[in-house]
Symmetry: C3
Subunit: 321 residues, 3 copies
């Protein structure tokens, strides 16, 4: 079964969240609408609802990412779940245990949801394929494949400012080759009706055949940005900067960074997004992160609400249903 | 005072849990019966009881073991305790603090229970000997000495399938020399009335004088397995595989691994146990872990209930008693 | 704005806790009085009050310190807050994110309080200067600058035994040069009326111009201790012992350690304090830590209550005020 099919149950409800690819528009919209109910929780003095009391959520991170782990941990705690963190880099798989055996063992502890980050594309799919009944998988990023909660929080944030995606022109800029965020954003944008999606990258960071996703590739930043409403910058992993794919961070910035000059050319209504953490002077310059057009901090804020929404929809349903 | 005496209070109730050696049969049975009450908690949608609300449980792990730490953390959280994890490998003892001073300091924080794992035999005993009134020690594995909760969950699981231990023939197979699990299982099995316990290992991994524990040693796997009802496999630490004690993992498997052929020879009623995590192709081959005779996942599941039972019996007693 | 001014709000209430320098005597006393209410909580069977339910406290430690992190985590949990731990040594700043960007991001997750430890003096001040409205900073130690909760717990402990500070003679002994604890204690002692404060250290560990803090420097231990009521020992970091500032730990002990002989010379009423963890045979010998005059374990115990008090005063105020 494909991830798209696997993540729905018999009644078309969310059972796992693996990818935005193939996620029906109605379900995607339901997630965003549910998140809207959780945004006020984070702003209240008592940031806690009892929805997942007594449920167990396990963060199983094969790739270290304190930031991302924190957002899932916070979401689960604000839903009153019990949360466990396993740094799987230093755990039993390093002692020779297979993923399959590890999953069986952790399931036997009656975990309700695994939040999985893994360096290999398809890892979350693997877990979902083998999941026991009643155990759900939430993909927190797998290799170059998908990072669905990031795309959902991006859609939530963008929808607040541009409710109608049909006429929207969006540019996604940077390391397309390695970006699971870009893939998940492209699928979500298209599902929500966006028809003009451009991807901008140097030739070395542009995947072959990316047009098949329904996007228009540009290797020239300024041509690609021409007339867009939204610029989604991708994080450039620091290891890429030292590799052979790029001349230097400075050169990348001149060719593909969002400079003050390019910001002015975009006009005051264009919106700026970035999944964080930002590399100042690489993907964007100076204080653009905090410019009025920047949605970067809103993305972080909405990330908690989106994760609460997904967890609540998957494991917070009443038992009598 | 011996660990056996030290772990009981004046009224013969459990004060610490250090070892299964000398644990009275009535008390051992009481732990298993208490665990039986906690097994349904883990299966319920709200996996939580308020028994230890406001109590503080501290996992103090001098040896890294994410798996074991997770089971204690989960047990404590499902009893509503506050749980702290200290990775003591990177903590103050590495700054020159003595164990004694560390214990005094952590006790001053009003911790109710220390769950201790340590590479040296006797470490939990040391802590128990110096524990302040009202502070309890739970041994989560000390050197080659004892791992009592593992033995208790093994007894719980075995008792479900074979309620009468008196006629039971049990074989414990593998690295007896380094195994605290084997020692704790042997003591518990004998206390519960098992009279035919065989230990099977190559000469290099068989402790001298092990007969004194009331077991029969075998160096030939097939002779040792002849007619047994239960096979308890021991985990082979990967560092042993590279040492001088063993020719190679493959050779160990041929001589002492549970193969499909040996499984067939045992017959369909023989039960298979392993404390996990398993090394496929070493202690057992392929998918035997998931064969109908295997109790391996049940062991994991019951491990949470056993740890809840021990914690509840030690620190969950009403204050008015 | 100075840290002293920055840590108070418009109405003179505690908004952040950065330093004891300039903390008004009335506020300092209010913290100690509030802590007195929390001491019984830790002794009760249910060590938990619902004061910070639904609040989020984030331990952001740029310097590893399991011990200190544990005390803040425990304090927050006993107030029923949700607690997150970020080991910032391995986090995004190591990926090139600036402190400023990290703070903005974590604030967007609606954290109520950051507990910050950092190797650089002024780091907590930096965070407080840039903190969003409603977000509070608690300094858990910044470089050589300040460690205010340590000083407050020292004052609490000392006040229990010597309620009137005005005639008190206090000696602070050891590595004054690197000690944030010494600086915070000196400011707090003076604010509470102590007029005779001596600092005792070898020349290499005595900061130039320390007299300006209102203390009297001594390089001779026995002259400095003459007639004192309280000896506050400072922890000697192990890296200093190997550096060029000291001949050897043994020589330091002979010249500046609290030996049995010096303890006798002090008389039975002199009190001994140390922030822990202790180095036996360096700052003090053998079992002096547990002598009747030693307040060391009381300091640890009161540390939890002081941290609860500060958290409650800063983020536990009723919303209707």
């Amino acid at each position: 079964m494909t991830p798209a099919a696997l993540q729905l149950d018999d009644r078309g409800r969310l059972r796992h969240l693996l990818t935005t690819e193939g996620l029906p528009a109605a379900l995607l919209t339901e997630i965003l609408d549910t998140a809207a109910q959780f945004v006020p929780v984070a702003g209240a003095p008592v940031k806690k609802v009892p929805l997942l009391r007594g449920r167990t959520v396990l963060n199983l991170f094969f790739e270290a990412s304190t930031r991302t782990r924190t957002t899932f941990e916070l979401a689960a705690k604000r839903l009153s779940a019990d949360v466990l963190n396993i740094d799987a880099q230093t755990s039993s798989t390093s002692k020779g245990e297979t993923l399959f055996d590890m999953q069986r063992t952790l399931e036997a502890m009656q975990v309700d949801m695994f939040v999985i980050r893994h360096g290999s594309s398809g890892a979350a799919h693997f877990f979902a394929r083998h999941a026991a009944p009643g155990v759900s998988i939430l993909n927190a990023g797998d290799g170059r494949h998908a990072h669905p909660t990031q795309a959902l929080l991006d859609m939530y944030t963008l929808r607040l400012h541009r409710p109608d995606f049909s006429g929207l022109r969006v540019a996604i800029v940077g390391d397309l080759l390695h970006s699971r965020v870009a893939r998940s954003d492209i699928h979500a944008l298209r599902t929500l009706g966006c028809r003009d999606i451009r991807v901008i990258a140097p030739r070395t960071l542009m995947p072959a055949g990316i047009e098949e996703l329904g996007v228009t590739p540009f290797t020239d930043m300024d041509r690609g940005l021409d007339g867009v409403d939204v610029v989604m910058l991708l994080r450039l992993q620091r290891e890429r900067m030292r590799g052979t794919l790029l001349a230097s961070p400075g050169e990348f910035h001149r060719a593909y960074g969002l400079t003050e000059e390019r910001l002015r050319a975009l006009g005051p209504d264009a919106l700026i997004m970035h999944p964080g953490p930002i590399n100042r002077g690489v993907e964007l310059s100076g204080d653009i992160a905090y410019a009025p057009q920047s949605l970067i901090l809103q993305q972080v804020e909405h990330g908690i609400a989106i994760r609460m929404a997904v967890m609540a929809m998957i494991i917070g349903r009443g038992e009598t249903e």
